[in-house]
Amino acid sequence: MEYLTLQNIGLVTGFMLMLIGLYGALTQKNILRIIVAFTIFDAGLNLVIVALSYIKGRVAPIIDQTTGVTNLSEKFVDPIPQALVLTSIVIGVGVTGVMLTFALRMFKTRHSLDINDFKQTKW
């Protein structure tokens, strides 16, 4: 029962998503499905980082009337991983967009989405 904290739930969910995404990226044949698996891996990794920053009983790092302005380091959760995940999500959508347009280009030249049809690096 003592293991059933919010942080551990977030960590387990994130780890499971990472494993599922890695399995999908390694086993799927269709390029689009590989990209979907990558986005799932991405979501799991971000969830793990945010879950590690959580401390039980503390509030989001935003100053307002209820927190006051003193002793803030005893009231807030860790802000740095949250800032890094903010960066990571935005970069994730850029990378997904590049992968998808690349897949579209590959489909246009070969009319196939199977990863095994693309043997040579020049096409």
Binding site: L19, L26, L72, S73, F76, I80, I91
Partner: protein
């Protein structure tokens, strides 16, 4: 066969690694030194109510500059891959979009842009900021594209917004280095009173510029994908 064995071994090893981490890690009871410093000193030093914004824009502003650059490179790569032919578009007449969509688009587009601007202008006080506000503006642009998919939009405006806001971001960073204490320092404008809209020095200006830049970049990506759509 060997490939399957390899995949199973890799997954099992990765799973063991994560499982052992899960069993041995301990939840922090107090903040480590650096985040504790940020939490305690954000209000007096930077003047922002939202500590995450302070970390993103000032303490780790260099990371954010890199991130915006990566997004710019991604948008340029997408534009390069999807370079559409200059040949005249053969005039298929697709089904016009429904009355509900085109009417509500006229009403909603300004409101969505206004909401996006609200989100990034208040980034130092409430949750939200340049990236979220930029994404909201891009969804407004998406509504515009869905209502008239055949329309010609001017690339020029989006590109101008993007380059002007990107350049001003760097210029404000350099101003911080000259007038303040270092690159992207926000204190060359007076900090003001904590919790009001015009406070936190240059943070609202920088985050608004980031919002405009991210919004223009994401809209550009959607616009290029839509162009490819029309070409067929």
């Amino acid at each position: 066969m060997y490939k399957n064995m390899f995949i199973i071994l890799l997954l099992a090893g990765f799973g063991l690694l994560l499982g052992s981490f899960l069993l041995t890690h301990h939840e922090y009871l107090s903040l480590p030194q650096l985040p504790a410093y940020y939490a305690d000193n954000t209000a007096p030093e930077v003047g922002a109510a939202n500590v995450v914004t302070a970390v993103v824009v000032t303490y780790r502003g260099f990371d954010t500059l890199g991130e915006v650059t990566i997004l710019f490179v991604a948008a340029s790569l997408i534009a390069m891959f999807l370079k559409h032919s200059k040949a005249p578009r053969h005039d298929r007449h697709p089904r016009p979009s429904s009355v509900i969509l085109s009417t509500s688009q006229k009403l909603l587009f300004p409101l969505i842009v206004l909401f996006g601007a609200y989100v990034f202008a208040n980034g130092h006080l409430t949750p939200g900021g340049g990236f979220q506000g930029g994404a909201i503006i891009a969804t407004g642009f998406l509504l515009l594209l869905m209502a008239n998919p055949q329309a010609e939009f001017k690339h020029g405006l989006l590109n101008a917004i993007e380059s002007i806001s990107g350049t001003s971001y760097v210029i404000i960073g350099i101003l911080g280095a000259i007038l303040g204490l270092g690159f992207l320092d926000n204190r060359f404008i007076s900090l003001g009173q904590l919790g009001t809209l015009f406070s936190a020095g240059a943070i609202p200006v920088i985050y608004s510029l980031i919002g405009l830049k991210v919004g223009a970049e994401l809209s550009n990506i959607l616009h290029h994908l839509n162009e490819v759509q029309n070409e067929e």
